[in-house]
């Protein structure tokens, strides 16, 4: 029974995070929402592994967490590069 409650709760938070990712309005909202969705997916996977009776699949959740971490760093790097480029362009413009 507890699994049902947990799964429903996680699904609801996922829907909320998705709403934020869709609405934005700033890119940082989206990045945060994506990160949160990633975390929720890791949790959901862990719960689902028990729910469908295959706890030996928990190591999948590890991969998800890993990918999520690297993905967010890549996004941050993207912004750093973008900021530097627009700085350089401003300098050229002067």
């Amino acid at each position: 029974m507890i699994y049902y409650a947990v799964i429903v709760a996680i699904l609801v938070t996922m829907a909320l995070a998705l709403a934020r990712a869709l609405i934005g309005p700033t890119v940082y909202d989206r990045v945060l929402a994506v990160n949160m969705l990633g975390t929720k997916t890791v949790l959901l996977l862990a719960v689902a592994a028990f729910f469908i009776g295959r706890p030996d699949f928990l190591d999948l959740a590890l991969t998800y967490a890993l990918i999520n971490f690297i993905g967010v760093l890549a996004v941050l790097e993207f912004f750093r590069v973008r900021a530097q480029r627009s700085l350089a362009e401003e300098k050229e413009g002067e």
Partner: protein, 332 residues
């Protein structure tokens, strides 16, 4: 397939449709790339619920991991926003409507989800489940089919990866002409990456050895649990991407130089292919691993071990090469 699971899947599928609509609708390509990462995570979750654990692992690593990084690398080089909108919208919508109608019409004769008497469950599939313990003797039937029963497909798949690798190296190996060159600090990951950000750096550096260890586990435990050469290669590549993000692309390139990556990309397919040729020389058919040892089942084990290693080496070499090609593009 309990009622609850069905609703669980339906809910996730609905979220996926919403995400897909948003991907098409948004003008911001960065947002579209982010949303397609979400889309991949959700579809991976559905694959997991539909008893395809290997696919769930791969889809998450590829769809949410590698393709997001590739999109970001490419967007850093092109443009972040769509300028023009659509063209021929009416014609496209008409075609779309017709094909959707055909497909939905076709669904009504389809076997229901989980139907044990569906034709797909009756013919070859039970044979694989029944014979794997006898002929191959690995617990993961997906690995057995992938590496042995349909090993020729997987050989082709390895060469698809290899082709993509040489394609990207070929296309981006030519220096851009007449382009304003930017300093390496302004390319993706570039010279320093996120070196000046302490928290990610400390955490990330601690993580890398564990990621590599985990990759080895995925590689060699693929017979027993979801995983295998392809997934392991993706994880190794992810760890190198992480290193490049933390320490700068130049550092990562020094750790694994371009010639070595190229060698890896080419050696992997050769390992796979020559395993098949060795089987031929030992009197079997191409890729018939059972001749590799006195006991056919042991032969299958050796064969699967070696070809999975070949796949892992290929994927690692190709994906890291591709990442570097995008990241270093346009630098002085």
């Amino acid at each position: 397939m309990t009622v609850f699971t069905v609703f669980f899947i339906i809910f996730l599928l609905t979220l996926m449709v919403i995400t897909a609509l948003a991907i098409v609708q948004t003008k911001n390509l960065f947002a579209a790339a982010m949303l397609s990462g979400i889309f991949s995570l959700m579809s991976a979750m559905i694959f997991f619920l539909l008893d395809a654990a290997d696919v769930a692992l791969t889809e998450a690593a590829v769809g949410a991991g590698i393709s997001t990084v590739l999109f970001l690398g490419a967007l850093a080089l092109t443009a972040e926003n769509e300028r023009a909108g659509t063209a021929g919208r009416a014609a496209a919508l008409a075609v779309v409507t017709v094909i959707t109608a055909v497909l939905v019409y076709a669904t009504f004769d389809m076997p229901r989800l989980g139907d044990p008497n569906a034709p797909a469950q009756l013919h070859v599939a039970p044979w694989y489940l029944e014979k794997t313990p006898e002929y191959i003797d690995v617990p993961n039937v997906v690995t057995a089919v992938l590496a042995s029963f349909r090993g020729y497909d997987t050989l082709g798949e390895t060469f698809v990866v290899f082709t993509a690798g040489i394609g990207v190296l070929f296309l981006l190996g030519k220096a851009p002409v007449g382009q304003p060159k930017v300093s390496p600090a302004m390319t993706f990951a570039g010279k320093t990456g996120l070196r000046h950000y302490q928290i990610p750096r400390v955490v990330g550096r601690l993580l890398i050895p564990f990621i590599l260890l985990f990759a080895l586990y995925v590689q060699f435990h693929g017979d027993y649990s979801p995983g295998g050469g392809f997934q392991a290669g993706v994880i190794v590549a992810a760890s190198v991407v992480l290193y490049a993000l933390l320490e700068g692309e130049e550092q990562a390139r020094q750790a694994l130089p371009a010639w070595l990556l190229r060698l890896m990309a080419a050696t992997g397919p050769l390992i796979y292919g020559f395993t098949g040729v060795a089987c031929m020389l030992l009197g079997g058919n191409f890729l018939d691993y059972s001749v590799l040892a006195h006991d056919p089942v042991h032969g299958q084990h050796y064969g699967i071990l070696v070809i999975e290693a070949g796949v892992g080496v290929t994927v690692t070499g190709v994906l890291i090469s591709i990442f570097h090609s995008f990241a270093a593009r346009g630098a002085k």
